[in-house]
């Protein structure tokens, strides 16, 4: 357990090897295997560490490698502090869980990538795995870091890696744009985050999570009565950071663009791990947040709104990966909702299950895209299940899981969240509102997921014919034409490298939920709410033993709620089935009957718009009214900011050139002119010179006469 620091280090080494040596010398396979091996090793170590942790009494272990910033005296709120940061890692239930997720899923995705990336040139492959390993290094640092700064290391590092990986096909303008956008938007979040960190130090005199929690637990809870205090400020700033990293309103705009990256990247970074960092960070500081209920409320609202908005946008996406992207945003919204209502355990739980099924779905989509020769538009798919059965099956499982059909994992986690939301009493929001929105989202989720499944795997095949002239409809992927320029022999199942991870993840997606079975099922399943119990120590200061708040609700009512949410999900699925499989024409009928989004959607003109949009700016915000709202308001804000910055920069540039510098030149000019004048005075006439002399005398004498 003292060797947890190795866990991040191993992929780090892998990255170093691949980066320094690999790009020049490694073969594709070898590079992949090396990276995967490192991840495998890390996984093994994490398992060991996990088991050992279970063995210990107080579920907490800290390893300090070295002093990073030696102590330097610094004023804090209460007199003298000492600013010091160590390279130290913490293993506690929360980080242990994240470890397993990251290493486990990371490992699978590495394996998967070996197959996925083989079209790339040799150097490219090594580069890819270098980035991937590097990402894992930073992600694990983020997870294990036992103080804000070490976490920030990972926090920024994963940002860098996502920048690199999104821009992996850097020849593609859109790709490099997306990468840049991701990084910069994240930086905006970090602005808040670092300020939060500073405030943390200023308040508590330390940056160590445990110490902070300890100190905070002794401070009053800043309810509306107490007022918006320093802790609230801290939490708000930190949450700004979280919205950046976890793509919440208003900073979520980067995530859909991020789909420019290779699919495994989307799966690992933009679904399973990195984007959940925000959630993780909030959970990490559970104690702080519980002391700032108002901020909690804000978090919850932001979360649920994000969930809803993203889901609605997801409804009408036709790019398979973008659907998943919006669904990710929406699911993250769920997690924040959970943290917002104080159900940190539930949030973490959902984080885990989501990691499984969302990774699964992405990899599945990747497999589809791979099999469809880089085709991403669902309207050019359909009926693929006979071509790629494994993918179809596994993705279906994933869909069911996310839709929240028992006993798949998604059901348990999502239901837990909804349940706790139902119980939640808002600070300045009426009760049940959050819950209501959550439920609506749940339905939408079910709908768009199955819309995806149906459009992809069922119905008739709408894709291009696979003769050799099949090279027409490749949506904007000029980047690596050459890699598969040779003819394409129709949709096909992907190689084992890719299918095996799918299967494994599918299994996970099926059964991961059983670690968090609601108490309600005690009768059927004795080990209820395992994960809550397991994680609980991470959410309270070790000093204060806040008793777990009892679910004060009748068994019946709880079961009723579950049934209701399941019904909702079913409804969504049925609706999707009816519209896209049973009677594909139903959509038209509805369009005729219903005004609003659907007319907009079925409108051919808008379809073209979408095509352009996919090329120009990505299809984010295409749902009817939301289309314009999102584009004009949210994204507009971001771009607006961008443009104002550029404009400002030009202004100051001009200022610099003409004003600041101009002054200097002006002085020079004046000197020049004066010089000219003096020269003219030198007429060369002796008598003028004599005159000047006499004038001098005259002046001085007059001065004397006047002075006296």
């Amino acid at each position: 357990m003292d060797s947890i620091w190795l866990i991040p280090l191993l992929p780090g080494i892998g990255a170093a090897l691949n980066g320094l040596v690999g790009i020049r010398f490694f073969g594709k396979r070898f590079a992949g295997l090396l990276a995967s091996f490192m991840m495998g090793w890390a996984l093994w170590l994490s398992l060991v560490a996990f088991v050992e942790l279970l063995g210990t009494e107080e579920r907490f272990h800290q390893v300090t490698l070295a002093s990073w910033i030696p102590p330097i005296p610094l004023e804090t709120a209460d007199g003298v502090g000492s600013f010091t940061v160590d390279w130290s890692f913490t293993l506690d239930p929360l980080s242990a869980m994240m470890l397993l997720i990251v290493t486990g899923i990371g490992f699978l995705i590495h394996i998967y990538s070996i197959g996925y990336i083989e079209h790339e040139p040799r150097g490219g492959v090594a580069r890819f795995f270098c980035y991937l390993n590097l990402f894992c290094f930073f992600m694990l640092t983020l997870v294990l870091g036992s103080n804000f700064l070490v976490m920030f290391v990972g926090w920024e590092g994963v940002g860098l890696c996502s920048y690199l990986l999104i821009g992996y096909w850097y020849q593609k303008k859109s790709a490099s744009d997306a990468g840049k956008k991701a990084f910069i938007v994240n930086r905006i979040g970090d602005w808040g985050f670092v300020l939060g960190v500073f405030l943390v130090f200023f308040t508590f005199g330390t940056l160590d999570f445990r110490a902070v929690a300890e100190a905070a637990s002794h401070m009053p809870v800043e309810t509306a009565a107490v007022g918006f205090g320093v802790i609230s400020a801290i939490c708000l700033l930190l949450f700004v950071g979280a919205t950046g990293k976890s793509a919440q309103i208003p900073l979520y705009v980067w995530l859909p663009d991020a789909m420019e990256g290779p699919t495994p990247v989307s799966a690992l970074i933009h679904a399973a791990t990195m984007v959940t960092a925000g959630v993780y960070m909030v959970c990490r500081n559970a104690v702080l947040f519980t002391h700032a209920p108002m901020v909690m409320e804000i978090v919850a609202i932001v979360g649920v709104l994000t969930a809803l908005v993203a889901a609605t946008i997801g409804l009408v996406q036709t790019d398979i990966k973008r659907v998943l992207a919006y669904s990710t945003v929406s699911q993250l919204g769920y997690m924040f909702l959970a943290t917002g209502v104080g159900a940190f355990g539930a949030a973490a739980f959902h984080l885990m299950t989501h990691a499984f099924f969302k990774a699964l779905l992405f990899l599945g989509s990747g497999s589809v895209i791979h099999g469809m020769n880089e085709e991403q538009d669902m309207r050019r798919m359909g009926g693929l299940r006979q071509y790629m059965p494994v993918t179809a099956l596994t993705m279906a499982i994933g869909a069911v899981a996310i839709a929240g059909i028992p006993p798949f994992s998604g059901f348990f986690s999502k239901d837990e969240i909804l349940f706790r939301t139902y119980l939640h009493h808002g600070v300045f929001l009426p009760d049940k509102v959050l819950w209501g929105l959550g439920v609506v989202t749940a339905m939408l989720t079910a709908f768009y997921m199955f819309r995806l499944i149906n459009m992809t795997f069922f119905g008739a095949y709408r894709g291009p014919a696979w003769a050799h002239e099949g090279d027409d409809g490749h949506g904007g992927d000029d980047g690596h034409e050459q890699d598969h320029g040779h003819g394409w022999h129709g949709p096909h199942e992907s190689p084992r490298w890719m299918t095996i991870p799918l299967v494994v993840l599918a299994v996970g997606a099926m059964f991961a939920g059983f670690v968090g079975v609601p108490i309600a099922f005690e009768a059927l399943w004795p080990w209820t709410a395992e994960i809550e119990h397991f994680l609980h120590p991470s959410f309270v200061a070790e000093g204060a033993h806040a008793a777990e708040e009892a679910h004060h609700m009748s068994l019946l009512g709880e079961l009723g709620l579950m049934a209701f949410s399941v019904l909702i999900a079913m409804g969504g699925i049925w609706f999707a089935y009816r519209n896209y499989v049973e009677r594909p024409e139903a959509a038209e009928q509805m369009a005729a009957s219903l005004a609003g989004p659907h007319r907009v959607l079925t409108n051919k003109y808008y379809v073209d718009e979408l095509y352009d949009a996919t090329v120009v700016r990505g299809t984010m915000g295409s749902a009817g009214g939301l289309w314009s709202v999102d584009r004009r308001v949210v994204d507009g804000a971001v771009n607006g900011a961008g443009w104002t910055t550029i404009a400002a920069s030009w202004v100051s540039h001009v200022l610099d050139k003409y004003v600041v510098d101009g002054l200097v030149n002006l002085i020079a000019w004046i000197c020049g002119e004066a010089s000219y004048v003096f020269r003219r005075a030198q007429t060369g006439l002796i008598q003028n010179y004599a005159f000047a002399t006499l004038l001098g005398v005259f002046a001085f004498v007059t001065w004397y006469l006047v002075a006296r």
Partner: protein, 489 residues
Amino acid sequence: MPAGFTAADFYYLLPELLLTGGALLVLVVDMLLPRRDWATLGMTLFTLAATGAAVVGFTGVDTTISAGLLAIDGFATFFKSIVILSALLTVLMSPSYLRVEAVRPGEYYFLILCATLGMLFMASGVDLITLFIGLETMAISFYILAGYLKPSQRSNEASVKYFLLGGFSLGILLYGMSLFYGATGTTSLNGIAEALAGGERSLTVSLALVLLVAGMGFKIAAVPFHMWAPDVYEGAPTPVTAYLSVGSKAASFAMILRIFIEGLPSLVADWQVLFWVLAAVTMTVGNIAALTQSNTKRMLAYSSIAHAGYILIGVVAGTERGIAAAMVYLWVYIFMQLGAFAVIALLRRQDVIGDELKDLSGLYLRKPLVAVAMLIFMLSLGGIPPTAGFMGKLWLFSAAIESGFVWLAVIFVVNSVISLYFYYRVIVFMWLKDESVGSDIVISPAMATALVIAVVGSLLFGLYPQVLFEHAQVAADMFGSAVSTAALR
């Protein structure tokens, strides 16, 4: 009164006597010997060397001779050595130049020596009459030397201008002196000092003061009495210009310090104001006017006007430190100014006048060492460490600050920045422009010696000025001051 003239006086007059004798001998040699160029040159150099040795011999002496007309003190010795050293360098840079100009060197050297003689008296005279005669000896020699290139119209014009204005200013100066004589009934500076001590100043004295300032201001080319300088500097033979800008300036400053510090300490409040104004105006006008000059000699003329302004700061301060500052600055000024003029003289060839900026272009490629030397001189004039010029400026700064003339110091600062601009134009032409004109440059051994001395001086006194400072301080302390440093706080 000390009864006239004692034998001891001959002993203390040794330098002057040597110089006079040498000068006469030069004439004789010039008449008698064949290959007279070298003979005269050698004779002159020898005379100067001997005189220098004699002067240095009197280091530490502090006495007055010949009925208190002359003082042999550290101050005098210091300025005498300045004068003689600059004369030496001037003579060294002359021969090749004279050869190009096809001028007979005999009388030339004689006149240089006589000018030097006059300067020696200016340095050590403590009586208006002595000072005046010394001044005139110097001046008349320079009138002739300025016009020494008879075929050249510019040379003629230079001498006419210098002569007319010189005569005019001489009139003013003498009138001032006569008024002082009237006010105090004596011509000896100490007498004047004690006569003026205590008694309240009458307007006549103020008038006399102004006239004196004007007269001396002309000699050191202080604005507004400076206007002759650019024209004369441009027209006169380059070595003469050099000597004029260094030797006569140094001697005139010696005279100024004598008269105002030793003779008129009780009027310090008055002349401090006058010189404050003069200094400020002089350096500003000098520098700014130099900015746009394309003729090197003219540019250096303005720059030497500006330097006169700088040195006046020392006079304004009026403290021992101020005097020492002026002395130090004049000392280091020898090397940089003469060095610069030596380079210009060097550029004079059959086909090139060599006093235009463009004549300098590409110098670096033709004669790298000369270019380096010129670079050093320019930096020194600009006061960039580690050159001697910086140490000089340092002293002036500290004098001004110590006496609390902060604004003067600030003006000084601004000016020394402006000045760098035109010194850098010279450097730009030498180093950064490649096209070069005219036949190739030959360096005579004499010239080489001059350059080497100048370079060594400009660097040595920048890196290790201790010796110089010591002497200057000792001399200044012996000399006394108008404002005692103690009085400052």
